[in-house]
Structure formats: C-alpha cells, structure tokens
C-alpha cells in the first residue's frame, strides 16, 4: 500500500532527517521526498511531500509516531486535513441574525461551522455564542478575519484563540 502525505517542517537543520527516521525504523519504505524550501505554509513552515509504502499496520504506526513526535501532517492522499477553530462572541447574537453569521462563515471555501452553542444572558445584549469552525489547513487566518469582520459590523466582542 502506498500513502502520500504532506507534513509541515521547521526550516532548521535536522528536521527532515528527524521526520524520516521513524519511517525506516518502523519498517515502511520511503518512495519519494519532495522538499521545496522556498514554499511556506500559513504557519511559516515548509511543506514536505512524502510517499511511503508498507502494509496498513506499518503505515498506521508511522502516522502515529509522526504525531507523537509533534510533526503535523496536513494532507493525506490528496485530502487536506482539517483544523478546528474556536471563537466566542458576546453581544446581541440572536437579534443580529445568527443564520447570517453562520452563512457568512460557511461561504468561505473549505470552511464550515461545525458547532454553535448559545448561552443567553439575562440581558439579551450580552448573550454569548461559541462557534466551532472546521477549516482546511491554511484557512485559519481567513476564518479569523471573517469573524472579526462580522463582529465589527454586528457589534460583537470577538474572543479568538491565541
């Protein structure tokens, strides 16, 4: 079985070697490595395309080991992996059209609102909502900018992750 993946690496010596090391150790075959230092991911890291070969069990072991070592796999077999982004809004959430708030976020490509929790306050002007967004890797900036924008136009306090 063959598996193509893209992982993010820091642009410092030794990183690529450290990421490749468990592949051989765990018994998988390294087929190709494409390492283009001039391309950067959203987080300022280098995307490295790696193709490996082995049985399902071995490939699973490799993926787990990479995770454990803190390497972030952002794409597997052409599917971009998702990341979760949480934000909290405070304001007159309900009266300022919740559906429109969600629609505006959903309009972004590769982005979808996965969860919305509302908590009403005694004072409707200060209700709170937690919005959980699932987005393709690399979309975080766009999502946060969009939510900030909505917050500005609807007078919400936007609390985003550090």
């Amino acid at each position: 079985m063959r598996l193509n993946m893209v992982i993010e690496l820091l642009d410092v010596p030794g990183q690529l070697l450290a990421a490749l090391e468990p592949i051989g150790t765990l018994g998988a075959n390294l087929v190709t490595v494409i390492h283009q230092r001039e391309i950067k991911t959203e987080r300022g890291l280098i995307p490295v395309q790696i193709t490996i070969e082995g049985d399902t069990e071995t490939l699973d072991l490799v993926m787990n080991k990479l995770n454990e070592l803190g390497f972030r796999v952002i794409e597997v077999d052409g599917n971009i992996l998702k990341e979760t982004i949480n934000t909290i809004l405070i304001g007159n959430i309900v009266d300022r059209d919740v559906k429109d708030t969600m629609d505006q976020i959903n309009q972004l490509k590769g982005v979808r609102v996965a969860d919305l929790s509302l908590k009403m306050s005694e004072e409707p002007l200060h209700s709170s909502a937690r919005i959980t967004v699932e987005a393709d890797f690399g979309k975080k900036k766009d999502v946060l900018a969009k939510i900030q924008n909505i917050g500005k136009s609807k007078d919400f306090l936007v609390i985003s992750e550090v």
Partner: protein
C-alpha cells in the same frame, strides 16, 4: 549610591522597605550602600544630604501621611524639580503615579535628571508609553543609565531577562498576561461563575482594583506595557496610539462557561510582534503556559534559538515591584564598577 526617591506611594514605600531590609546584604555582596538623600510625595519632601532613615520615613508616612513631617529634613509644598536642584545625588528612582495623558510629572523629572547626567530608574509607564524613543535617545546622548524593569510585570523579570539572559537570541514576538487586576477578575469569574460587575467590586474591596478601574479593565495599562516591550525588546518604534486595545468589561460569566466546556480560559492577552500590537481577551488552553491565575503575570517570548521561553511572576505589589527597582539599581552599580 545616593538616591532621590520621587513618589512615596505603594511602590515608593516598597523601595524604602527594601533598602532597610537589604542594606547589610548589599554592602556585603556588592559593596553597595543605598542612601536616600531625598524623598518626595504630594505633600512635599524630606531632604538630607547625610541620608534619611527609611524606617523613620515609613513610620512618619503611615502615621501622618506626609513625608514633609520628617523631623528637621521635611519641607512642605516643594516641587519635585526643585528637590532635584537642592540635593546632590547619583540616581533618581522615579515612582510617581502613571499618567497616560501627558506622562507628567515623570517626564519632566526624568528629562531633568538625565540632562543633569544622573542615572534614572523608574516603575512608571505613562511617559514610556508616550515618549519612549525620545527619553531613551536623551539618555544615550547624556551617557546615563535609564532603567525601567519595574514598569512591566512588577516582579516578573522580563526586560533585563530578555536583554541580559537571552542575548544573541532574536526575540520574534511576545505573548503574555501583563495586567494582574484583569487576570484576577477573569480567574475569579472562572472559578466562582460570578458576574463581571460583582467580581470587579470584590477586587475593589480587596484593593486589587482601583476605585476607578478604567486603566486596568479597559486594557490601557496592558497596552502601555505592550509599547514598552515592543520598543525595548523588539525594537518597534511605537507609542500607545499604535496598540489595538479591547478591555474585559464586556466579558460575561456565560462566555467564560462556554469557553470552559471546550477546555479554554478567557485571558486578557497582550501580543507584541512586528505584525500586531494588540491587547484583547483571547481563548487560551487550560493546560497551556498562559493558564496562570490570580494576580500573576506571565509572558512567553518566542526566540529564534531558544524557541519559547516563559516567565511568570507577581505583576504588582509594593515590595514585589521594589524588587525589580532594586535589580536595576544593582545592575547600574555593577556596570559602573
């Protein structure tokens, strides 16, 4: 080292306490004798070229509220600037209240002391947040030391830490909690589930929040510290107006609850980087280095070589802040030996 102590509020009194406590230690370890030759407060000053007794100063201040009641050396209604002309000194320790409108009286006192070729140590943020570059350049032109460790994070070491303990590292950004009052309020709201107004009142009763809490809760105090960190550690030329500021007064217990359920806390974070000068409430993970409670301050420095380094410490308090002032005084003393 002869010291003019400008201001005798909580921090000023902390400095007197620390001098009294540490005099023997400093003599023994550094050969340094800190002699208070003038102390001012809003009532006037006490001036003595032979040195004032720090314990007597504290006693008189607590009993009468005025340093000008100091026996023989007390002078009523004398201006701080005139005090600097009346006495011979080496270092001005300036701990007057922070003023974010025009930075006075700290600004004028500092300019005068520097022009008179005196070293200056301050805990004040106002003049630094408004006129950072101007004051630093003036100190360079005059070849004097101008140190302000106590202005950011109280006892939490950060300025000297970045410059002296991590030299050679390029510091790319700083993310931190730079205001103890708001951290206390948000921590209490998280633990107790109480409302913002209720918790603010509690903080005021405990003396953690001021009667007029605006500077703390609206993020202005943290923004001043953001400016100081940006200029001194990251070399970003900026003043208070360049910082995007959102306070915590709109935070509700419901919002905190929603955050908690996903494993987050809400903290007033200051972000200092070439792309962003921002103070605003943010979500932080419950098990992250940002999850410090109570009046604690913290800062994570992102560096090119050492990766992330985090410091934590008490952000306010009289003796705690004075400890940062003392470290500046000792550093000046060591650099001149």
């Amino acid at each position: 080292m002869r010291i003019c102590l400008m201001g005798f509020g909580a921090v000023g009194q902390g400095v007197a306490k620390v001098i009294s406590l540490k005099n023997d230690y400093l003599k023994e370890h550094y050969g340094l004798e800190l002699k208070l030759v003038a102390v001012t407060d809003s009532s006037g000053a006490a001036i003595s070229q032979d040195g004032l007794d720090p314990d007597l100063l504290l006693k008189i201040k607590s009993e009468t509220g005025k340093v000008s009641n100091y026996p023989e050396a007390g002078i009523e209604n004398i201006d701080g600037i005139n005090v600097l002309d009346k006495v011979e000194y080496d270092t001005m320790v300036e701990v007057t209240p922070t003023n974010i409108q025009n930075g006075e009286p700290a600004k004028s006192l500092t300019i005068k002391a520097i022009n008179d070729k005196k070293d200056v140590v301050t805990s004040n943020k106002g003049h630094l947040a408004l006129f950072f570059r101007e004051l630093i350049e003036l100190s360079h032109q005059n070849g004097v030391e101008f140190k302000y460790e106590a202005s950011v994070g109280g006892a939490m070491p950060i300025l000297n830490f970045a410059q002296e303990t991590l030299p050679g590292n390029e510091i790319k950004s700083i993310l931190g909690i730079l205001n103890g009052t708001t951290n206390f309020i948000l921590s209490r709201m998280t633990i107790e589930g109480s409302s913002y107004e209720q918790t603010l009142q509690e903080a005021q009763q405990l003396g953690i929040a001021e009667t007029d809490p605006t500077q703390d809760v609206e993020g202005i105090d943290a923004a001043c510290k953001t400016v100081i960190l940006a200029n001194s550690i990251l070399g970003i030329d900026c003043t208070l107006k360049d910082v995007q500021v959102t306070g915590i007064s709109r935070i509700t217990s419901e919002a905190i609850d929603l955050a908690k359920k996903e494993g987050y806390l809400i903290k007033l974070m200051a972000e200092v980087s070439p792309d962003s000068l921002d103070v605003s409430p943010r979500l932080v993970k419950q098990d992250s280095p940002y999850a410090v409670d109570g009046t604690l301050n913290m800062a994570t420095l992102k560096t090119d070589l050492a990766d992330e380094v985090t410091v934590v410490g008490l952000g306010a308090g009289s003796v705690e802040t004075a400890s940062a002032i003392l470290s500046d005084l000792i550093n000046i003393w060591k650099s001149q030996k």
